[in-house]
């Protein structure tokens, strides 16, 4: 045990080499797309909507599919009101305010790792970011849970409370609902992999 702690101490104090620092920079850059590409996509298919009603969730906003002939977010809200679901509104998601801020913070921390060049900072970044990612996922799931459970008791159509799918496909009434991560999330998921690779490359570098 003592030996392990000593080893760990050495590991945490290990400086990280140039290759690792490059990887950290690349990892941080992976977060840039989260500002421009959606993190999650929900698509609802039915007979009336063979092309699917689309909602894209970005780090900072909620966007429905929009064609000259349809506003999908408005349409989904119109349909949901029959089961008494609250309208999906950007203002209801505090996430859109703090997520971009946190992502920016993470990128600054990555810069700090590059400058200070210690394994401990790198581990901090990795742990923080993983926690942030998992928390965001839980927060998203919780939002979906609330929307599906906080149903207006006076709604025209009364259905048992439910949680819309966070991942995968489910049939809801006349809709086939598909929910999957989108481009932004894939980049975001790549970030910790770069951090791990950076740790791996510098694991044996000595003072």
């Amino acid at each position: 045990m003592k030996k392990y702690i000593e080893k760990a101490n050495v590991f945490f104090e290990t400086p990280i080499d140039f290759r690792s620092r490059v990887l950290v920079v690349v990892g941080a850059l992976m977060l840039l797309p989260t500002f421009f590409f959606p993190l999650w996509n929900l698509t609802l298919y039915s007979n009336q909507f063979p092309d699917g009603l689309v909602i894209d969730i970005y780090s900072s906003k909620l966007e429905g599919g929009k064609t000259p002939n349809r506003d999908d977010l408005k349409e989904i809200n119109s349909l949901n009101h029959y089961i008494g679901m609250r309208a999906l509104k950007e203002d209801d998601f505090t996430e859109f305010k703090w997520i971009p801020f946190v992502i920016g913070g993470v990128m600054l921390l990555a810069l700090r790792v590059v400058v200070l060049g210690r394994m401990t900072k790198l581990v901090d970044l990795f742990v923080l970011f993983t926690y942030f990612g998992l928390f965001s996922l839980w927060s998203f799931y919780h939002k979906l849970y609330l929307y599906g459970h906080d149903l207006d008791p006076t709604a025209a159509v009364r259905i048992p409370p439910f949680t819309p799918p966070i991942f995968g496909h489910v049939t809801m009434a006349n809709f086939e609902v598909y929910s999957f991560p989108d481009v932004g999330s894939y980049f975001m998921a790549a970030m910790p992999l770069f951090l791990l690779a950076a740790m791996w490359l510098s694991r044996k570098v000595h003072k």
Partner: protein
Amino acid sequence: MKAKLSILLALTIVAALLIGCGEEKKGRGARSDVQEAALKTYVAPGDMDKYYLFKSGGHSGQVYIYGVPSMRHISTIPVFTPYPATGYGFDKESKEMLGGFTWGDAHHPSISETNGDYDGRWLFISDNANNRMARIDLRDFKTKQILGPIPNVSGNHCSSFSTENTEYILAGSRFSIPLPKGTFEKIEDYATKYKGVVAGIAVDPKSGTMSLGWEILMPPFNYDLGDAGKGPSKDWGFWTCYNSERATGKLEVTSTQKDRDYVAAVNWPAAEKAIKDGKFKMIGGVKVIDPKDVQGIVYLIPAAKSPHGVDVSPDGKYIIASGKLQSITTVFNIEKMLTAIEKKNFTGNEDGIPVLNYDAVKDAEVNVGLGPLHTQFDDKGNAYTSLFVESAVAKWKLGTWEVLDKIPVSYNIGHLTASEGDTKHPTGEFLVALNKLSHGRHLSVGPSQPEASQLIDITGEKMSLLYDAFTEPEPHYAQMIKADKLKPIEVYPKDENKHPKAIWDVKDAKVVRNGKNVEVQMVAVRSSFEPSSFEVNKGDKVTIYLTNIEQTTDELHGFGLNEYNINVVVDPGETKTIEFTADKAGVYPFYCTNFCSALHQEMQGYMLVKGSGGVASRKSPREKNLAIK
């Protein structure tokens, strides 16, 4: 796989038809090769037609939209007549546009052109009854403007025909009258005191807004049909006229005494210039050119007796006039016409308008058949002329003047329209014969008979009949445009709605009273009206601003107010104004008339009208009858 299935399906239908009709082929009018026809016209469920066909609706006052080659009636655009199906003529905006008229006689539709080809922006259509011109925007398929009654124009039949770049839409008088309108002159003075008019309706190239361009005073003939030139003839507008006898009474006899009538040719840039130069007189409040005073604007070309249609060939070289009482159609040559004008090769004049030497202007007399009326064109240099008396279409070659083929139609064809067949670049695929009589071609529907529209394939050497479709009275001319030239919207974007009383949230719905005026700002959205009820006093002037806040295609809502004779339909993103006086006390339900959702039936409300006297103020005939009993 899909294609195979549809062919299989088509063949099954064909087989069924063959079994069903094989025995009865004799003596039943025009027939076709069933198998070939079925394959060429079958549009499988979910598939789209290749062309839009806009048919005038005649005295129904509307425009009908068909798909070609399926010949399915897709929709109706109300133009000159109220149409509760779309709420047209019930809201303030469309009521004002209709100007109090409850019908019109929609005659000749004309798609706007750029360089002589359809650009798919607007569809213009003339009203023969109340002398109006309408413009439909092909972005949303809605009537946007009705101009008229046009001063001095009486019986706007020789209309609407677009110049090469839709600078003008041609119009004119079928029925000469004393001018200005409102003047009384004895019928015996017809030949001298009655006047015809031909006119150019100016079109704003950006907005499409129509205004009066120029009018020309003409002898009291009956101006029947027209066409605008293209290419070498682009500066000219042409009108046929019958009754150059200047006769009255039984025109059937009195107007058919001379061997020739005329085609009037108007140089419209010259007319434009005359107006600019101040060479006009004011008649009926508008600028009218009198050809007696201004030379070089109008000429008359003698044409076969009682001509009906005049059509300019795609290259703009030939002007083809069909004398409905003869068996020939006459081809005039624009170059010869210009030379004759230059050399002053005239044989007389009518009220100061020079008459050109027939033999100097004519290129050919084509022996097409009996009762030629109208001509359309394909992409291979052929012309197609409708033969009313003969009930047939003749195909003939421009230049060689040889009649190549003839196909019988059922029955008594009036106009015909080929795919983009009056433009510089006809596509030469389809031709629709717009027949006046249809008896025996459809399940009997009693004495009121529909008209027949027959689809004809014109791709081959021989024409072949493909399909019979039927239309309510009464298509005159039609326009067939490639479907991909139109890009209609299906939702009015919220940002485009400039109605000052539009609201987009049910929370903003309200009722405001101002003296005896009550304003209701109402929202329609699945599946409710907000407010769902409102109170007024008997005698109040009620204005409802109804906004459909949906932004999804096909989510229309109606607003029918019981016993108040009101039905308005609002499209997604649209606001309409409903104005009426609450002249009957009591409680009146209103409800969504255009099926919208699972809870459509629940989409309803009440107008509560306080006041004494109950329903007594306006009894329907039925109520009166009940009262007598």
